[in-house]
């Protein structure tokens, strides 16, 4: 005696590897002749008589031969030979925009979890202070560290430097970096993220803010006036004092609660990213928007975006995009 209006739960067969089979089928994995070299652990990499080659990541020398230590694709760039892995933890590079969670406080720094090999450090001296003025950090600042960021909070930051032992130093020396609240966090394999010029995307038309962390953590949130102001300030670089005053006023006012429509847009974006993650497809603004728009045009309900029907549509769309790109 199910109540009227109750939505029936879908129960269907579990097919292990269904997603993978879908990719294989639609993207013609097996038919694809390609001149990329795939290697597995222990495979020999031909050095093609290259004299004086440089050995990069994913390789080792055994008995004078170059051997792969990971599974992936062999890349040759000038004299550098290395193996690009398709799945690995994030390796920080200077200038990367990252999203991380504060793990704990230690002395004058926060330890931030970037889902990488080690935790990163954010020094008190590297944090953007309100008022935008540079001043020396004093003892009071040190005791009040928790007023900036507490354990468990989410922040966006930039990689200041990577040391020889792999430890990473972060900074938030711009208004656009800092605490992230009221939004959705998605974990994406870092290999699906391409390093681009811009990682902060304010989509005003949709009312959404998108931060694509190079470490695979992606943030989607309703766009708030103070965040828009921060983005404009960062982009404008202080052009026009009148504009700056307006922005500051907007930043000072408490943000209005997001509307239902805004929340739905955020959910749809988040789901679009989840779909791309499941299909092992790269995550960047164009692909996210393409998936988002496909869902809107196809009038796919939010909850149905993860269903096999929509997944197939997305893979199909990608196959088409590639074949038309081929033809050009």
């Amino acid at each position: 005696m199910a109540a009227a209006g109750a939505v029936a739960v879908k129960v269907r067969a579990l097919v292990p590897g269904a997603d993978v089979a879908l990719i294989e089928r639609v993207l013609n994995v097996h038919d694809a002749p390609s001149n990329t070299t795939f290697v597995c652990v222990g495979d020999e990499i031909s050095t093609e008589g290259q004299e004086g080659f440089l050995r990069g990541h994913g390789t080792q020398v055994v008995d004078g031969k170059l051997v792969a230590t990971v599974c992936g694709v062999v890349e040759r760039v000038n004299k550098l030979i290395y193996v690009k892995t398709l799945n690995s933890r994030y390796n920080a590079e200077q200038g990367d925009v990252v999203v991380g969670r504060v793990a704990d406080l230690a002395g004058k720094a926060w330890r931030v979890d970037l889902k990488s090999r080690q935790e990163a450090k954010l020094l008190l001296s590297a944090v953007h202070l309100p008022g935008g003025i540079q001043r020396r950090r004093n003892a009071e600042d040190e005791l009040n560290m928790r007023s900036f960021f507490r354990e468990g909070e989410l922040i966006s930051a930039e990689v200041q430097s990577v040391h020889a032992d792999g430890s990473v130093a972060l900074h938030t020396r711009s208004a656009k970096y800092g605490k992230l609240v009221c939004g959705q966090l998605l974990e994406v394999p870092p290999n699906l993220i391409k390093r681009q010029k811009q990682h902060f995307h304010t989509l005003e038309a949709l009312g959404v803010e998108l931060i694509i962390g190079c470490n695979g953590l992606v943030w989607v949130a309703p766009l708030r006036p103070d965040r828009l102001a921060a983005a404009n300030a960062a982009a404008g670089g202080g052009a026009g004092s009148a504009g700056a005053d307006e922005d500051e006023a907007a930043a000072a006012a408490p943000p209005p609660p997001p509307s239902r429509m805004q929340l739905e847009v955020v959910c749809r974006m988040a789901n679009a990213i989840r779909v791309l993650t499941r299909l092992y497809m790269p995550v960047y603004p164009a692909s996210i928007m393409a998936t988002y728009e496909a869902a809107v045009e196809g009038e796919v309900a939010l909850a149905d975006m993860m269903e096999p029907g929509f997944l197939e549509a997305v893979v199909g769309q990608e196959a088409q995009r590639r074949s038309s790109a081929m033809q050009e």
Binding site: M1, A8, V9, V11, R12, A13, P16
Partner: protein, 287 residues
């Protein structure tokens, strides 16, 4: 609720088994049967044992003994939903359960409401353990339900409950012949032929539905990030007729009295439809 994906017969050596996905939550339930001696308190009944284990494959958090207590609590709730006759009085409530991972903080226990009436042919709900008896007082089947959680994306209790139902449907128990030899000793002979196995009657087995409190709303089937936002939850065992067969509460905050009724009613509305959907799938040739 998120869509459920089921696969039967995943463990070749088990009498019955099922693997269930809901969201990214992944559980395997294996049912094994062994010939054993019945409990002296219930000589005409078989035995039932339920265990729930969290594999460290789900998360490094579950390494070592962490997660053992949580598993035991879920097992107790599932066992209570399967075997009413092992407790005095028929309609019983499972003991209160603290929050996930054994965090400190007591919580209240809820008693069952609207208990189904016992019928002459067997227990009021759950499995008929009398059917597991082979030779009264001497031998009976011991039924072991072992659940293994491979991935936790929320609603583990619901997943284990649904997977248990599926595994029980998949279970085949060999026919047994009891012969008495010349010396008056009883001999058990198992008929291993495939056609001779019999299946359990699961028509009265309830499903456990978890209803959680998030803010002031009742929400079902919480994903892992959502679970962290909820303060308390009620796990309600409801049978296909919509009757409540047991309830357990959990969570750091207590369940508000006003919410209790709403939560129970939510579970009562949801469970029968879920039961029908699962059984329909299990009986269809598609599986």
């Amino acid at each position: 609720m998120r869509p459920i994906e089921l696969e039967l017969g995943v463990i070749a050596q088990a009498a019955g088994s099922a693997r269930l996905h809901i969201g990214a939550t992944d559980v395997i339930v294996g049912v094994k049967v062994e010939v054993a001696s019945p409990s002296p308190f219930a000589p005409t009944q078989g035995r039932l044992g339920v265990t729930v284990e969290f594999s460290p494959c789900a998360s490094p958090v579950y390494q070592g003994r962490f997660g053992e207590t949580y598993g035991e609590q879920i097992a107790a709730a599932i066992e209570a939903s399967l075997a009413p006759s092992t407790r005095a009085g028929g309609a019983a409530a499972a003991a209160a359960a603290p929050a996930n991972g054994g965090a400190a903080g007591a919580s209240t226990s809820a008693t069952a409401t609207a208990a189904p009436t016992p019928s002459a042919s067997g227990p009021s709900w759950g499995l008929d353990l009398g059917k597991l008896c082979i030779s009264a007082g001497k031998t009976a089947w011991a039924l072991y339900v072992d659940a293994l959680v491979l991935n936790d994306d929320g609603n583990v209790v619901g997943a284990v409950s649904a997977a248990t139902l599926a595994a029980l449907v998949d279970t085949r128990i060999p026919k047994v012949e009891v012969t008495t030899d010349a010396a008056g000793e009883e001999e058990i002979e198992l008929d291993d032929s495939p056609g001779a196995a019999w299946r359990l009657d699961v028509s009265r087995v309830p499903l456990v539905v978890t209803v959680a409190q998030v803010g002031s709303q009742c929400v079902v089937d919480l994903a892992a990030p959502e679970e962290r936002c909820s303060s308390s939850a009620l796990h309600v065992a409801v049978n296909r007729a919509g009757q409540v067969c047991g309830a357990t509460s959990s969570g750091r905050a207590g369940v508000e009295a006003s919410m209790l009724l709403a939560m129970t009613e939510t579970a009562q509305r949801l469970a029968p439809g879920l039961w029908e959907q699962i059984m329909r799938f299990l009986q269809s040739p598609a599986r």
